[in-house]
């Protein structure tokens, strides 16, 4: 009886396993395989051993992209997490108007990425509304998308607007699950706002914070559309994050081996950072 149930359960999970194997596992394993080859899509892959990995150390485009990616992810996630946390907390204190604010705040997340990017591209234009506002305030126009000093910041500002909406909703969900009695007890004991946040809210919100930190880091590392539409990695590679470099290396330069190597490195970074973050925020506490 047990054996037949086991067999039946295998039959039921087989489609899901098959889906994972074909569409998730196989592409990852194939990317690892290709990263040890020279492959241009047109001719059969030629085994080159570790050469794609060895050349990374002298590949300036890659090293620059790695730095651009780290800069973008850091300056995106740190303010976004803080801002989302505060907004989520404020939303949780609202009464009936909460649903309206929640809808308005979540709006950027449900808009198509490309449409959002195109609108921001117009806004950052030299003759766009942002520069118009600066001019009205007596300031000079800023070459947001055509100067390497400003373009990374333009993308970061835009990501703040976009990502905050998503993570605010996650934090709001976290805040709404916090037990009210802890706060009431603290209040009765005369606790002030900041000590309450530090000693009650933050420890109780730790799993939500862990989730948001990991999600924000992974999403930041995987960003592509905004950079592609707004700057295509320019000017002079100032916004060429790893995903853009991977795309160009694969489809413009037809170097699938090198593109796969970059992908494996990106995959490794995401995996490592996620594990460290989970360990720091959740694992270490449990230990």
């Amino acid at each position: 009886m047990f054996q037949s149930r086991k067999r039946l359960s295998l039959v039921f999970i087989a489609p899901a396993l098959l889906y994972l194997a074909i569409f998730q596992l196989y592409p990852v394993l194939y990317a690892v395989y290709i990263s040890f080859h020279k492959y241009d899509l047109m001719s059969p892959p030629v085994f080159t051993g570790l050469s794609n990995y060895i050349r990374l150390a002298s590949d300036e485009q890659f090293l620059r992209s790695l730095w651009v990616t780290a800069f973008y992810v850091f300056w995106t996630i740190v303010p976004v997490i803080g801002l989302s946390f505060v907004l989520g907390g404020l939303l949780s204190t609202l009464g009936r108007s909460r649903s309206v604010w929640r809808f308005l705040l979540y709006l950027p997340s449900i808009l198509p990425f490309v449409s959002v990017a195109l609108v921001w591209k117009l806004m950052f234009n030299q003759r766009g509304p942002i520069n118009d506002a600066l001019n009205t305030a007596g300031m000079a126009s800023i070459p947001w998308l055509t100067n390497g000093a400003y373009a990374p910041w333009a993308l970061i500002f835009m990501s703040w607007w976009h990502a905050t909406s998503y993570y605010t909703i996650i934090f709001l969900a976290g805040f709404l699950t916090l037990p009210r009695d802890c706060f009431e007890a603290a209040r009765l004991d005369g606790a002030k706002l900041f000590p309450m946040i530090r000693h009650i809210t933050l420890p109780l919100m730790r799993p939500t914070i862990a989730l948001v930190v990991v999600l924000a880091t992974v999403n930041g590392l995987k960003a592509f559309v905004f950079q592609q539409v707004l700057t295509d990695g320019g000017p002079a590679n100032a916004t060429q994050i790893l995903t853009i470099l991977i795309y160009k290396t694969a489809f413009s330069y037809l170097d699938m081996g090198r593109a796969s190597t970059y992908s494996i490195v990106l995959f490794g970074c995401i995996m490592l950072l996620s594990l460290i973050q989970i360990w720091l925020i959740s694992g270490r506490r449990d230990a």
Binding site: E60, T146, A236
Partner: protein, 426 residues
Amino acid sequence: MRPFKAINFLAAASVAAIGMSASLASAAELKIWHHTYPPAEEFIKQKAAEYSKLHPDVTFTFQSDPHGDYEVKLLAAIAAGEAPDLINVLDYLYPKFVSKGILAEANLPAMGVKTNEELEALYSPGALKGLMIDDKIYGLPEELNTFALFMNKEHFAEVGIDVTDKANWPKSWDDLFTMAKKVQKKDESGNFTRLGFNWVFGLDGFWYAMEYWPILNQYGCEVLDSAGKATINSPQCVAAFTDTWQRLVKDGIGGPDYATVNPVNALQDFSDGRQSMMMAGIWSPPLFGEDVKKNYVVAPIPQKDPANPKTLLYNYSMTVTQASKNQEEAWRFLRFLTSDGDGYLRHTGYVTGLKGWEKSEAAKDTIGADIFADQLQYGTYFWRSLTWNEEGKAIKDAIEQMMQGTSVQEALDQAAKQIDFVRSQN
């Protein structure tokens, strides 16, 4: 009676089936892929319809994508075994595409000629050169081109310069920038309301190359030396970029901050009357706004040494893929399509390069056709390389750095380093 009827029915059905399969066997569907250029799309569709009338067994499907996306999609389709039959390819990609076995060698009998020489004799000198690898022809010109200077005569008339008079055309780059300063307009806050001249920005490496290649030729700058080592940072190249690209920004004439970037119409600012001069091909007027269409003049591009003119030559060709199952029919259609040079020029602004095109009725009706015909003889094709895209990108990056204040030498040193790195890996 019944068995007889059944046999008759079976026989009739078999004959019909054989007939249908025979007709299917001879039927050909030719897939054409082209970069987005609406006038060309319409013309090719019109010619395809004409061809289908003459050959009812041949049908066509057409797809277009903006330049840049087009090449990516094309390569993905070829890699996936879904290659179209006829494709639109720039000449600088021929070495790479031929080395990868993507392009089919020209089928001369299908085009009604016996030898390469016979085919070449139908074209202006050098027209097929960019489409040949090891003396084999792999495509036909759809757009044999060079760049000229387009000027808005109304803008210049406002500042008292009559550009319909050849004597007032800029001969040197210095003349060009001087004229640009005279014709440009700014509002009270110092923002441009009209640019005198600008280079293209925010587009792919090929677009940049079309504008710097004539200048590099004029200054004796080579991207690579004979051994394949990057020489883009040579003194000649530094001088070329300093005197032209960097000067534009230093003199406050233009720059990337002022260019409108439109992936379908790269010449948006001139087309809309926000810019008074631009460098472009003979194909550009159909994209102009109605006001500009009535008010432009075509002049040769400025020269470093007007006595020894040098410029660009490029070929956006049509060719047949190796993977096509209907190669012969595809070449036959290609010859049919491109032999209508008059129609091409009239409807699309493309010069197919057939001998004597400049004397055709369409050429007589095309403003500046004589200038383009004259300039073609001074043109040279881009440098040839299997890693052209990466090398072009390295130079584009260098230009973008110069535009932000990096010294020309430093920017080109980085480009040279990147080019050498890329070439060492291939």
